[in-house]
Symmetry: D2
Subunit: 345 residues, 4 copies
């Protein structure tokens, strides 16, 4: 940590800063420049994260030298992690293919979609049972019935399943049915939920919040890792932007930016990132070309009848075409896609 003092800092003030640092058991290293005095701090930076040095009047700026996350950092774990969801791998050269509807609506709907995407090229099935809807008047999901249908459909077509958790009181219920928990963008800094899923051992799909920086995303991953669960897959799904042309702003550079400082896999979700059918395939391919460890796509067999997100759901034949192009890219970049499993039902 480096402390830059104000131009008008007095000797007494400087002395005060040095004392505070030493009281924390750290060593201060004073350097008087031509225009500014700078103090370098030697020792464990974490000790002073809580000490609001910025509040001391003579301090102009505090510059941290280390990233605030540890377990998620590439320094702690230089090799890319491979996370397994059932038999399906993400990271370290493996590209996961997650697809399915926004919401589980019925057994028939899930069967139609599950069958189609398995044939189309997906290897993980998604579907919402408890939905975080922005309107209290919108359909909120089927709850446990939805979880059962999701599980059964996954079993029938040999695909592990993932669903979103929005309430810490649902942890045991959902744990029983799924292979991966999803933490949605709106809950990326719901620290209660992060702590709760961090106490399980199931993989967690952690979506980036709409106003989260790459480092904020990794801090939220650190919450999960710090509880003992190392199985975190990150997901770029669009951040807040100023152009109404797209629903969100797809930050494809987040893929290599995460990989530069973390070992965790990161996938892309162009369905939520763009919210537009005609942009999803291009952005999915862009994500894979940028090094994404997976692609998450919303698919519905009849988008205009979907109870949610119809406007951004690919039809099965559109998904199959896109999945074919993704496979070509994966081959070009010498990566692999795990096969679907055996039907277990």
């Amino acid at each position: 940590m480096i402390i830059i003092l104000r131009a008008d800092a007095t000797d007494e003030q400087i002395e005060h800063v040095l004392e505070r640092i030493e009281r924390l058991g750290l060593t201060a290293h004073l350097s008087r420049g031509t225009y500014r005095t700078v103090i370098g701090i030697i020792g464990d930076e974490a000790k002073i994260a809580v000490a609001p040095l910025q509040a001391i009047p003579a301090v102009a700026q505090v510059v941290p030298v280390l990233p605030p996350f540890k377990l998620a950092s590439a320094e702690a774990h230089p090799k890319p992690s491979i996370i397994e969801v059932g038999h399906v791998k993400f990271g370290g050269g493996y590209v996961g293919m997650i697809a399915g509807p926004c919401t589980v609506e019925s057994r028939e709907q899930m069967d139609a979609i599950g069958s189609a995407i398995r044939d189309g090229g997906a290897n993980i099935l998604r579907g919402g049972a408890f939905k975080p809807r922005t309107s209290p008047y919108s359909f909120q999901g089927l709850g446990e019935d939805g979880l059962k249908i999701l599980r059964d459909t996954g079993n029938k077509y040999g695909m592990p399943v993932v669903t979103e958790i929005i309430d810490p009181r649902h942890i045991d219920l959902i744990h029983e049915y799924v292979d991966m928990f999803q933490i949605g963008a709106r809950n990326m800094q719901n620290f209660v939920l992060l702590t709760e899923v961090g106490r399980t051992t199931k993989p967690i799909l952690l979506k980036r919040g709409m106003s989260a920086t790459v480092k904020d995303l990794l801090m939220s991953a650190e919450y999960i890792l710090s509880q003992g669960n190392p199985n975190v897959i990150l997901c770029e799904r669009g951040i807040k932007g100023f152009d109404p042309e797209t629903r969100n702003l797809f930050d494809v550079a987040a893929v290599p930016a995460v990989k530069a400082i973390s070992h965790l896999p990161i996938i892309v979700d162009p369905s939520h990132a763009t919210g537009r059918l005609d942009l999803i395939p291009c952005c999915a391919l862009a994500g894979v070309a940028a090094g994404s460890d997976g692609v998450h796509i919303e698919v519905h067999h009849c988008p205009e009848e979907a109870l949610s997100d119809g406007q951004q759901s690919l039809r099965p034949e559109q998904y199959a075409q896109l999945a074919g192009q993704i496979r070509d890219l994966v081959t070009l970049f010498d990566k692999k896609i795990s096969p679907v499993g055996e039907a277990s039902q």
Copy 2:
């Protein structure tokens, strides 16, 4: 709701859209312009919110005519609401003065701060007991012990108290101790929490999320109102911006923008909005001049020893000076500030 069709929409496609609308029990009103065909929908817009008309191929754009919230809207309730927190009023000409430390640290700290801000001009005491910290390694709050200290200090100095809730499982515990629940910015779209506090009758201080539009904020208020709790106070506390000069971007225009479409009171929190001691007073005054129904300020008797947010906490004497200036503005604009209450302990 208005549906704008694509330039190349065929008669068959137009027919299909009309049928879908009629199946929903609504009346469609077709208008063929020189360059585009437009369909107006007459009837209850809410019926089609769930129908993803945008997913129909010939549809270029769907323009809602009504705001998606009802109970929070000025149309439903043209007169500004006055919300009472204990004996302290917000809205309809009343300006509330909330102050206190980020976190309850000890009985001594709360006593020093409570006494000072009461004398300085505050009428509501705040303090965190369960803290949503971005790092899992930071101090997470004193829990129930913090709630007790907060309650006792409020009683001693005649100020109702407010604290943040972050876990739906804490609802009964916190309910016992405080006069108002706070929903923090990171939980503005934690719909589980919104529903839970909506089932109580205590006032809710709802902070705007960092990537939330004014309408998103009002939709979250609608969640609470739709559960039966009409006592919502909104709070502008800075949104995500691109200039690192300030911690967040203080959107002062949100104050009149909310008042243009809603009856709910809205207050400002320049402490979190700017994160800089030297900007807080100016932004607090700006908020009041823009019509804010209250001011929320972090105060600490020794900011550099604070366990959190020290860099943005005013000292008691700084708060007293600011509160005096706020009172002058309140008088100039012919508004009122509720007095502090009797000590009840």
Copy 3:
């Protein structure tokens, strides 16, 4: 300037960085921390601004210690500057009142508006003659005829006049007619134009660009100052935001943020910042309460007939009411407004 090296920097790489610094005639100050090596640079930071130290492989981060502007900084000039436009003062306790239509449309229009705003409380008249329109098919202004009308109207009502310059080839023409040049938001980084107006001695109203940080704005001011013209008035007029509720995002905190690091006056323009009639008065008052040195308001005697910006133009009686409230605030804060001048025609 401080250079933070990568964790894996070798001794050879460190040596290379030190050599580069010394070759530039500066002194390097090496500090090996527990986790990172840091190099402080002592001497004139400007010497190395051009040296892309960040391009050296072992370098993780370069942290400048000084602001990149000098003449605009509060360090160079601790007392707030007072800029005079004709007889009207801005800064150092003086609040300027600029008003007028977006565009000069006719002699009659300007007379109607000029007379009304003079009576309403303005002391500077604005009006566009060369307009930067986003559509090539929109009205582009009356050119020199517009300048003549503007000048004559200003003279008739005793108000200095300001107009926007968009082409460096217009400098002499416009110089002849106006008391202040305006550089619009879209040209804030048109360095050719900045240099050109910097060679005159007339005051410059420099509007903040929609994606400019406070420091970017001050760097553009520095361009003008570095050419020898010290008369720069900054203007906050809304930056790009994500909420379609308002046209732009009014960053009121920029007012105190500029004052914390610069001596230049800064005014607010809520007309362009919000683009909404119903928000302009609240935001104007917020700006003054935050310490603004002036208020810029678009006024039209018949907004729905205006050739541009009608939707955000106050009617004269609305302006007069707002100006009265501004005067009350100015009095409360112990500031002054220069009176209008004698008619010179």
Copy 4:
């Protein structure tokens, strides 16, 4: 155009709006819904762009139905345009490869870089002679000497050349030396410059401004097209974002978003978009996978000695490796890259 009236609009007000529309020679189509009255306008929307209907009190919202640009739209010109820069094609299946240093520094520098990138896979040479620097104290370019060196180097290695124009008074000078004008991001709404280059017939590389929407970019293209020059190539080079992790935010979705509504080619510039060496290759590949018609990369033979942008310049061997990967993608997507030309010197 659709006009949505306020809920409280009176019959008299509605009548007034209808009159205004008819006075403009257009037909109004009134539709009274259950909750709101809506007016559709039939006829040439351009006629009312200048009429500020929004300024009429009873009007709640004005929704344009047509895009505000014509010549740039896909409706006017459904087939993708192919733009030729010298012998090098962009668009309609052709991918252009622009590379070179930020600034022309010397004949030796340009020769080293020109030779290397020609061998590496570029087919257009870039280099700045008049630089728009954010600091008045930074190196501003070699001017005409730089243009000569650029031209000669391009001739020697068979590559057409492009340079930025920042001053309308330079148009003839630069016209003499280059094959394509570049309009930089900071000048995207410098309408004087757009008009000036629109009067030539040389291709224009138009970079997206940092706060420009996709439609703003196309409106700026329309300025050039409306002057008679049809040869516009758009460029996505990063927009303003909130994450300091990257210099700008690379909006890869802008590539398919532009193609959905325009016939103009669009290329990507990951050098300026990310500002980070380690992210440039991934983002370049992402751009091509998303359908980009070209890639613009800054290359320097010795980045740490570069007079500008060293921190984001690839070394020649890094460029050659990236260009090879781009060629693989171009082949996979069945597109083509124009070969370099004969040396003409």
